[in-house]
């Protein structure tokens, strides 16, 4: 018996691993879902999410969310930290690819009619995932604190602020004051690394759970 078998048996005796894993392993997936590359888009978005989590944790080790330090710390990541430039560029490209993949995934679901009964609620969760993903992008855009980040956020929050009724509150909550400043940067940082990750983890959990319960709509 190899070491792997011994460890597996030890855990299996205590936690009934076999009974837990068997239904997952044997769960049938429709054949055309496996052969058609259009069904990869959701998985691609999820891979990008995982890459974003890992590279994001590394970036958070060096990033400093204050107006005086933010730009310098990103510059430090890009020029001095070993592999820093690669990690930040990966974060950048994975973010853009994730949004593209999420959108294409949604377009595929729409044209294949995969949102129909009984999957209505999973579509709704999906729209909230799209919203969360784009909000991730919006909040992350400000963090390098360069000219483009600052002015694009100024216009973006201005647009959000002119939505009737709720706009004023949204703008106040986002900016933490009347204009972009130190408060805004720490808020965007907190939103980007604390609030949104929790939100997306919950939504992804629901999304996958529903797919697991209802199965993939395997129709071409």
């Amino acid at each position: 018996m190899t070491l792997g078998d011994t460890i597996y048996k030890w855990i299996d005796e205590r936690f009934k691993l076999r009974e837990l894993l068997q239904p997952i392993i044997k769960h049938p997936a429709p054949e055309n879902v496996i052969s058609n590359p259009l069904y990869c888009l959701g998985g691609t978005a999820f891979l990008c999410f995982l890459i974003l989590v890992i590279t994001g944790i590394f970036l958070a080790m060096y990033y400093k969310p204050t107006p005086l330090e933010a730009y310098k710390s990103v510059e430090h990541i890009m020029t001095e930290v070993p592999m820093g430039s690669l990690i930040r560029s990966l974060h950048h490209w994975a973010a853009n690819t994730m949004i593209a993949a999420v959108m294409l995934h949604m377009i595929r679901i729409y044209f294949m009619g995969a949102y129909k009964k009984p999957r209505e609620l999973n579509w709704v969760v999906g729209i909230f995932l799209l919203l969360t993903t784009t909000t991730f992008g919006f909040s992350g855009y400000l963090l390098p604190w360069d000219q483009l980040a600052f002015w694009a956020t100024k216009i973006g929050t201005g647009i959000a602020g002119s939505i009737p009724v709720v706009g004023g509150y949204i703008s106040l909550i986002l900016l933490g004051g009347n204009d972009i400043g130190a408060e805004t940067l720490t808020r965007f940082f907190a939103i980007h690394v604390m609030i949104l990750p929790i939100a997306i983890a919950v939504l992804l959990g629901l999304h996958f759970l529903m797919v697991r319960i209802q199965g993939i709509s395997g129709r071409l």
């Binding site: 998985g43 490209w93 694009a152």
Partner: protein, 146 residues
């Protein structure tokens, strides 16, 4: 607890299996496909990140407005629509419509899609209205993005 759940699953599978299209087990078939795609995407991202590193412009200066300010590409359609819509409707100013329509109404409409489209068919040939509306929406977003 776990045993009870598994038994329930077993029963469900028996009931639904004959209706299903041909199915292959999740592991290894489905997982293998997923891993292959993930490797390709990860490699693609590594190449992109090495060839085109993320940019960093001059530090933010609240007193110096740069000339072309552009948002991320996935918000361009909001900008495009805001520029396009210059018509006041009654007492509502054009700017409010230009902001509300692509953000609030668009997402509201997206959320309601499964409740508006009650046609149970998933066959593309019997969903002409939904497909046409989908293509129009897609072209519209692309147009305003551009």
């Amino acid at each position: 607890m776990a045993i009870a759940e598994n038994k329930k699953y077993g029963e469900e599978e028996k009931k639904t299996e004959p209706v299903r299209v041909r199915g292959l087990p999740f592991f290894p078939h489905f997982v293998l496909r997923e891993v292959v795609v993930m490797c390709i995407v990860a490699g693609f991202l590594l190449i992109l990140a090495s060839v085109y590193p993320a940019s960093l412009l001059k530090p933010a200066d609240p007193f110096d407005t740069p000339s072309p300010i552009y948002p991320e590409w996935y918000f361009l359609y909001v900008f495009g629509f805001l520029k396009f819509w210059i018509y006041d409707v009654g007492p509502i100013p054009a700017k409010i419509i230009g902001v509300t329509l692509p953000m609030v109404l668009w997402y509201g409409l997206l959320i309601l899609v499964p409740f508006i489209d009650r046609n149970p068919s998933t066959d593309i040939r019997t969903r002409k209205v939904a497909v046409t509306l989908g293509i129009i929406a897609l072209l519209g977003v692309l147009y305003f993005t551009y």
